[in-house]
């Protein structure tokens, strides 16, 4: 699993990468995940439906991330614009 964050001037940045079944790597992923949420980011997992529709799922805790998810994307929260 890879945790990615989109950033101005960077595009995507890899925050952490690891196997959730390996305890050390799980802890590292969990720590990075919480850090981003604490910083006010939203987390999303890109998915595909059985009909082939691509979509995303917002997750609010690491436990909500599907175990087989390949990546979690962090991006700034939406705010009403002008």
């Amino acid at each position: 699993m890879r945790l990615l964050r989109v950033k101005p001037g960077h595009g995507e940045v890899v925050l952490a990468e690891g196997d959730v079944t390996v305890p050390d790597q799980y802890a590292e992923l969990l720590q990075a995940f919480r850090r981003e949420l604490d910083a006010g980011m939203w987390a999303a997992v890109p998915t595909a439906t059985d009909a082939g529709r691509r979509q995303a799922e917002l997750v609010r805790s690491f436990e909500e991330v599907p175990v087989d998810a390949e990546r979690v994307i962090f991006f700034p929260r939406a705010a009403g614009g002008r």
């Binding site: 990615l4 989109v6 950033k7 101005p8 001037g9 960077h10 595009g11 995507e12 910083a39 006010g40 939203w42 999303a44 890109p46 082939g52 529709r53 691509r54 979509q55 995303a56 799922e57 917002l58 994307i73 991006f75 700034p76 929260r77 939406a78 705010a79 009403g80 614009g81 002008r82």
Partner: protein, 202 residues
């Protein structure tokens, strides 16, 4: 007597002119100082680098491509915007996503433009002085928020009437381009030929 009064009048006019000029000078100086102060308060984009921004945009495009389906990606690459079908309500809206512009809602059946949903994804960490994501990351953030939580995004956004930021003529042009693009695409994909006879969105 008349000479004295005339002289007095001239002196008064001269004095008033000097005072007025001084006041004007101070006011314009104050204005300039206020402008300078405001500029100093504004976060400076310290090291804008076009090369870095281009590389960021390239990475953002790759990420977007990896998330959306092939049709959405081709649409964005070729037309510069992406359409996402809504799922709320009986008369489902579709949305056009433009980078750093409001989300445009319209009814695909009638072509009626519903409104503009103004939403931003400002990154307050401002790594290079700007909170603005690369264009394709902005589209990706809108796509994620719409496909994951359409209602939440719509409620969070500020809704405005059509034409406030994106000209209605431009939207109509884009919808016509989209319909034409879909017809061409259906024609170039033999397995989709049966769609040719269907009624286009516009």
């Amino acid at each position: 007597m008349a000479l004295a009064l005339g002289t007095l009048a001239i002196v008064l006019v001269a004095l008033l002119s000097v005072l007025a000029l001084e006041r004007l000078r101070r006011s314009s100086l104050r204005h300039s100082l206020a402008g300078l102060r405001a500029r100093a308060r504004r976060p400076a984009i310290t090291d804008y680098d076009p090369g870095r921004e281009m590389r960021a945009e390239q990475r953002a495009r790759e990420l977007l491509h990896s998330c959306v389906n092939e049709e959405e990606w081709s649409m964005y690459r070729e037309l510069g915007f992406m359409r996402v079908q809504g799922t709320l309500g009986q008369e489902r809206c579709a949305y056009l996503l433009y980078p750093h512009e409001p989300i445009l809602a319209y009814l695909p059946d009638s072509g009626l433009i519903v409104g503009e949903y103004c939403v931003e994804f400002p990154d307050h960490t401002r790594p290079y002085g700007s909170s603005r994501l690369p264009d394709s990351d902005d589209v990706l953030a809108k796509w994620i928020a719409l496909t994951a939580d359409e209602r939440g995004l719509i409620e969070r956004a500020n809704m405005h009437l059509p034409g406030r930021q994106i000209r209605v003529a431009k939207v109509r042009g884009d919808l016509a381009r989209l319909a034409s693009w879909e017809r061409e695409r259906a024609g170039s994909h033999p397995q989709r030929r049966r769609l040719v006879g269907s009624v286009p969105a516009l």
